[in-house]
Subunit: 339 residues, 2 copies
């Protein structure tokens, strides 16, 4: 029999459709990869992107030339731009803001097909450091209320280029879903005097049934109310609300956890398309919109969803996802994956 | 310059990315249609579906045989089932419910490729009547708090069969997004003493810029804060909260509005894949969860979204959609479409 499960953070329900009970082999993966010819993110094509805003590169090399490990550039077709003054307008019942914000692309590696699971830990540590530095830099602009870091891998996940890259879009508003998660965490904290994520991690470690991997500082697991087959969350075991406060030991632990988790995902599902998104606290400038004590009641984490199912009218209408692979089953495949 | 717009009902923001300014011809449509051979929804294949729970059929024909215009059956792989007792369980911090509910399929026509825009008004009136009757029947079960009516057309929209069909999934909880829309409408009503949807319709009729079509009782328009290119809402012009209270004159007007609106969509975009979802009030059994006066502050409507863009990590992380075609541009194409 199928069941409904409630996410303890936001209160959203999901349907775990056990009767459809899909196994990894039921999910066909057929990504169209674009070749490296004409790739604007490959080494030697630096002139094809907007100028670097940041790079990890060899000493004595110039910006926008070869010799880099990681490059950060403005998106060539930015959804939002930093130039201008933020004007808030009301037109009758409608409200609008100019598209002030930022939209950056982090080119993660020079290798066109050099995916996370194949990289060295050092390379991933550099990447996580870059995430931290760019988020920190963007959050110095107090017109920007939230910065969403995300990664699209594969066309179904919204990527138009195969070369590994992450994006950050910083918005002049706190997204409603971010606010919902903050308010949900605050309600739990009010009632229980504990962080809901710390309690989730505690329950997961107690049962073990949904854990994918853990090291000293990080854990990855398939959440109880997974919306998608093989959905995974990665979180620091020590309570921390803001990703940009990550220290170097935690950075190394996150690199290890991310690499092993992605290796297990690939070993289970072949080479799926996926999204990775970071959930962290809004900019300090937005703190006034939420209950005080955000650093106590919120807990940053990454969410990873392979693109295995289609979003249909039911999901659009209700926000309730139908997940045909229970997270316990997904976790078992991931636990047993040989890497 | 792009802009952010706020939906007056739920408060969610969207990015209208005018710089990407996509026209209808920028959206490639490449649906894989399944042929009628072996289609369980074609006439003569009645034995391939679960038994009828309702049908519009010729006199003197038996259930589950030929002679029907519309058939309603239980989904062969139901997400939720009506059998059993609803048990609510807590396991530590986690909450679950048995998968009690209903999952029906409305086979809209005997014609395998007989899409909405090509049908007679009489056929669409029968269909809307069937929607009303099935929703009414399901809402007699007071374990079921909400019934989501939705249509998936095309594989990208989540359909596994090409034969035109609509589905209803009734859930033992009110979905969070339905609750958000109710609470948002209530806040507006509290402040303005008017229905937010009535005010939206008033503004749309005053400006005309986003209207697709209207007749005496129904209007279709591209909403101000459209999440998707060519997103359209269809609503009754007279205030009404509950779809099942639709009368016969309104049913005829909705059939006309739906048909013309879909004809315009096809004339603009070829043959796009799309979802249609109904937004209406929860079952009376759930009324206690929301502020009193739902019939005053809520207003039922249909939402139509062609599947033209991909949902990427940014949308998953924030709930903010990036729409590369402003609704004013989409409405102009739809207004000028020759049908």
């Amino acid at each position: 029999m199928s069941e409904l499960r409630k996410d303890p953070v936001t209160g959203r329900w999901v349907v775990i459709a056990t009767e459809r009970g899909k196994r990894p082999t039921d999910y066909a993966s057929s990504e169209q990869r674009s070749e490296s010819a004409n790739c604007p993110f490959c080494e030697g094509s630096e002139h094809m992107t907007p100028p670097e805003v940041y790079a990890v590169r060899d000493q004595n090399t110039l910006p926008d030339t070869k010799g880099w490990n990681i490059r950060v550039v403005t998106n060539k077709f930015p959804a939002l731009r930093p130039e201008g003054t933020l004007t808030h307008e009301r037109r009758g019942i409608f409200e609008r803001l100019d598209g002030i914000g930022a939209h950056e692309v982090i080119i993660e590696t020079t290798g066109h097909f050099d995916y996370i699971q194949d990289r060295t830990n050092e390379s991933l540590i550099r990447l996580i450091d870059t995430y931290r530095l760019r988020l920190e830099a963007l959050m110095r602009d107090d017109r920007l209320m939230y910065a969403q870091l995300f990664k699209n891998k594969g066309e179904l996940a919204g990527a138009s280029l195969s070369h590994p890259h992450t994006q950050i879009i910083a918005t002049p508003v706190v997204p409603k879903s971010v606010g919902d998660a903050l308010n949900g965490s605050h309600s739990y904290f009010e009632a229980e005097k504990r962080c809901v994520f710390c309690d989730i991690i505690g329950e997961e470690r107690k049962s073990g049934a949904r854990i994918v991997y853990e090291n000293d500082s990080f854990i990855s697991f398939c959440p109880y109310a997974s919306r998608f087959p093989f959905e995974m969350w990665l979180a620091p075991k020590r309570h921390k609300s803001n990703f940009i406060s990550i220290d170097s030991a935690e950075t190394a632990a996150l690199a290890d956890c991310l690499k092993i988790t992605m290796k297990k995902l690939m070993a289970s599902l072949g080479d799926p398309q996926y999204n990775i998104v970071l959930h962290t606290v809004p900019n300090a400038a937005a703190a006034g919109e939420f209950p005080v004590g955000m650093d106590d009641y919120y807990h940053y984490h990454f969410e990873i969803f392979p693109k295995l199912t289609k979003i249909a009218g039911f999901e659009w209408g209700t926000g309730i996802h139908i997940n045909p692979t229970p997270p316990e089953d997904a976790a078992k495949f991931l636990q047993n994956a040989e890497i």
